[in-house]
C-alpha cells in the first residue's frame, strides 16, 4: 500500500483521532493550479451531503483552477465545480503527499 493510499484510507473511512495529525487548511488558500487532498468538510449536514453528491469528499484530490476574488473553480474527480468563497473555505485540505516529497509544502 502506497503512502498516498494510506492517507486516503485514514481520511476516507475516517478515524477520528488521526484527524488532527496533519495540519489542514481551507482550499481557498491554494493558488490556481495547485492541488491538495481533501481532509474534511467543516460544515453542516446539508453542505456535506451536497458536496458528497458532487464527489467532494474527504480523501479525494482537489485542484484549484480559478481563485481570484469571488467564487472559486475546483476540479474534483474530473468534475469542475464553482464554489462560493464561503463554501470553499469550509473544505479543509492537506497537501498531496507526492507534492510534499518534492518539498513544496508551504511551511
Amino acid at each position: 500500500m502506497s503512502e498516498e493510499k494510506k492517507i486516503k484510507d485514514l481520511t476516507r473511512s475516517g478515524i477520528e483521532d488521526r484527524r488532527m495529525d496533519k495540519k489542514s487548511f481551507p482550499v481557498t488558500s491554494l493558488k490556481e493550479g495547485e492541488e491538495g487532498l481533501i481532509h474534511s468538510i467543516s460544515g453542516g449536514l446539508s453542505l456535506i451531503s451536497r458536496l458528497a453528491g458532487m464527489g467532494i469528499v474527504p480523501g479525494t484530490e482537489i485542484k484549484v483552477l480559478r481563485n481570484s476574488r469571488g467564487p472559486l473553480i475546483v476540479l474534483v474527480n474530473n468534475t469542475r465545480v464553482a464554489l462560493g468563497r464561503g463554501q470553499a473555505s469550509k473544505i479543509l485540505i492537506v497537501f498531496d503527499l507526492s507534492r510534499q516529497k518534492k518539498g513544496q509544502l508551504a511551511e
Binding site: R12, S13, G14, I15, E16, L45, S46, L47, I48, S49, R50, L51, A52, G53, M54, G55, V57, P58, G59, T60, L65, R66, S68, R69, G70, P71, I73, N77, N78, T79, R80, V81, A82, L83, G84, G86, Q87
Partner: protein
Amino acid sequence: MSGRHKLIIALAGQPNVGKSTVFNVLTGLSQHVGNWPGKTVEKKEGIHIYDNVEMRIIDLPGTYSLTAFSEEEKIARDFVINERPDVMVLTADATALERSLYLLSELLLLDSPVIVAVNMTDVAEDQGIHIDTDSLQNCLGIPVIPMVARKNKGIKELLSQVILLSDGKLKYDPKIPDISQDHRDIFLNLIELTREHIPAPYTARWVVTKLMEGDPEILKMMEDILPGEKWSRIQSLLIKHEDSLRAVVGGRYDWIEAVIRDSVSHFKRGQVLMTDRLDHVLTRPVFGIPILLSVLAIAFLLTYGIGSPLQGLLERLVNSFARWAGHFLSGAPAWISGIVIDGIIGGAGTVLTFLPILLIFFAFMAVLEDVGYMARAAFVMDRFMHTIGLHGKSFLPMFLGFGCNVPAVLGARIIESRRARLLTIFLAPFVPCTARLAVLTLVSAAVFMERAAFISWSLVTVNILALGFSGMLASRLFLRGEPMPFIMELPLYHKPNAKTIGMVVWNRTKAFVKRAGTVILGFSVLIWLMSNIPGGRIEDSVLGRIGRLIEPLGAFMGLDWKMIVALLGSFVAKENSIAMLGVLYGVGEKGLRNVLPDMMSHASALSFLVVLMLFIPCAATVSVIKQEIESRKWFLFSLIFMLLISLGSGMAAYRLALLFGI
C-alpha cells in the same frame, strides 16, 4: 407490479449527464411538461413504445443525491418510493463515473430495480478513460449499458434490457454499499430499535441510513411514529455519533472506489482538455466579462436584426387578417366584430407577432446553455449579483427576461434557496422584455426623433438601475438571511445538440403561446368591453371614466387621461399600449408616428415611457409570478412595489425633464 404491455420507467441522473438527451430521444414530441403536484418543480413525462410494450417514461428531477435537503430530491425519492416504477434507468456520466455512482448507491436502497446507462462513453475515450462495462456489471450486480445518447447509440440495447429486467429475465443481484466499518454497530443498533415501527412502503435499511444522514424529513417522521422512550434512545445514539453522515458517505465512496478500481482504466494522462483551455480565458474576469458582454450584444443584434423584420411581416399579416375578418363579419352585430377584430385579433394577435423575436432569442440562449457557456456566465456574473443579494445562478433567468418575463420567472426554479428564488422572481419584471422595448423604440422614435436612440438606451439603463436598487433594498431590508450557498457544476463544453435545443425552445415558446391564448386573450376581450361599454365614444366608456378619475394623479407625472388608459391597457400586454394610443388619439390614416409628436410633449412622453418600462408587469407575467412565488404576501408586495416605483420614477422624470427643459 410489472405489467406485460405497460411499464413505468423512471429516469434518474445527476445534472449534466445527458439525462434530458435520453429523455428527448425516447419521448420526442409525446412529452408533456407540467408540474409535480402542488410543487413548482417541473415534471416531464412521455410515452415510448418498443417491441409492443408501452413505456410511460417519467423524468425525475436531476439531483446529485437523494437527501431531503432540496425540493427536487424529495420529489425524486418520494416518486420512487410511492409509485414504485417498474424499472429505474440511471444515466451516468462516463467521464466522471465516481459521482454518478454516488446517486446509484442511494437508488439501490430503494425497491425498484435499476439499470445503469453509462452515457458519453465517446467523450470519455477521448479523454483517455476506458470503462469496462462487463466488469462494471459484475461489480455492481446490475445491468450496465454503454451509451452515446447524442448519437442515438445504445438506446435500443437499453430498452430491450429494460423489458428483460421488468420480466425478471435478467440477473439482478445488486451489491449495496455498507456503512463504513467503525459505524456498523450503531447502524445495527438503530435497525434493531426501529425495525417494528417502519411504515410501509419504507424499508428499515433505508430509514436508518437516512436517520444517520440527518435527513430532516425522515427524522421528523420517525419522531412522530416511535414511542417516546425509543425515540430518545435513538436521539442520544445519533447525538453521540454526530459524524454518522460521514460514515454513510465514507461507506458509499469506499464502495465506489472498489467498483472504479476494477472497471475504469486511464490510458492517457496529462492532456489538457478543450474545456480547460476555453475556461482559462472565459472564466478569468479580465476576459470573461468583456466576452460575456459581447456574446449578449450578439444575442440582441441577432434577435432584433432577424426578428424585427419578421415581426413586421407578421403584423401586416395579422392586419390583413383583421380586414378579412371585418368583411366576413360585416353582417354581424357591431359588438361581435368589435370583440373579434379589436379585442381578439388586435390584442392577442398582436402579441403573437412577437413570436419570431422570442424564438430567435430563446434559441440563442438555449444554444449558450447547451454548449455549457451559461454556467460560465453565471460564474463570471457572481460577484455582481452579490451586490443585489443574489448569486450567479440567478443571472440566466434574469437574462431570459429580455426576451419575455414569463420564462424568466419560471426559470427561477433552478435556484435552490427559497430566499434567492423569491428575490429573483421579485426582480425579474424589472428586466425590459421585447414587448416593452418595442413600445419604447416606437414612441421614442416618434417623439424624440434623432435623440431616440439615446433616450431608449437611457431608459433601459434606468430599468437596470431600478433592478439593482430594488435588489439591494429588498435583500437588505426584507429578505435578510445568511449568505446563500453557491455550488454549481461547470459542465464540459460540447457541440450544440439540435434536438435538446429544439425541445427547450419549444417548451419555452409553448409557455408563452399558452399564456397568449388564455390570460392575454381573456384580458384583451375584457379591456375591449371596458372601452366600449356603454357604447359610443371611448371618453364615456368605463375605461375612459377610470382614466379621467385618476387624471389628477397623472398630472403630477404629466400624463393625460389617454396616456393613463394606455398604461392600464398595457397590463394586458405591453404592446397593447401602442394600439390603445392609436385608438385614443384617433390616429386613423395618419399613423401613430405622425400624430404622437403633436399630442405628447417631450417631458410627458419621457414620463410615460419611464412609467411603462417599470409598471406592473403584463397579465401573463403576473399570473406566473402568482403561481411561482408561493406567497400571497410577497405577490401583493411585489405588485405594489412595482406600482410605486414606476409612478415615483415617472414623476421624477417629468419634473427633471421640465427643469432641464427637455
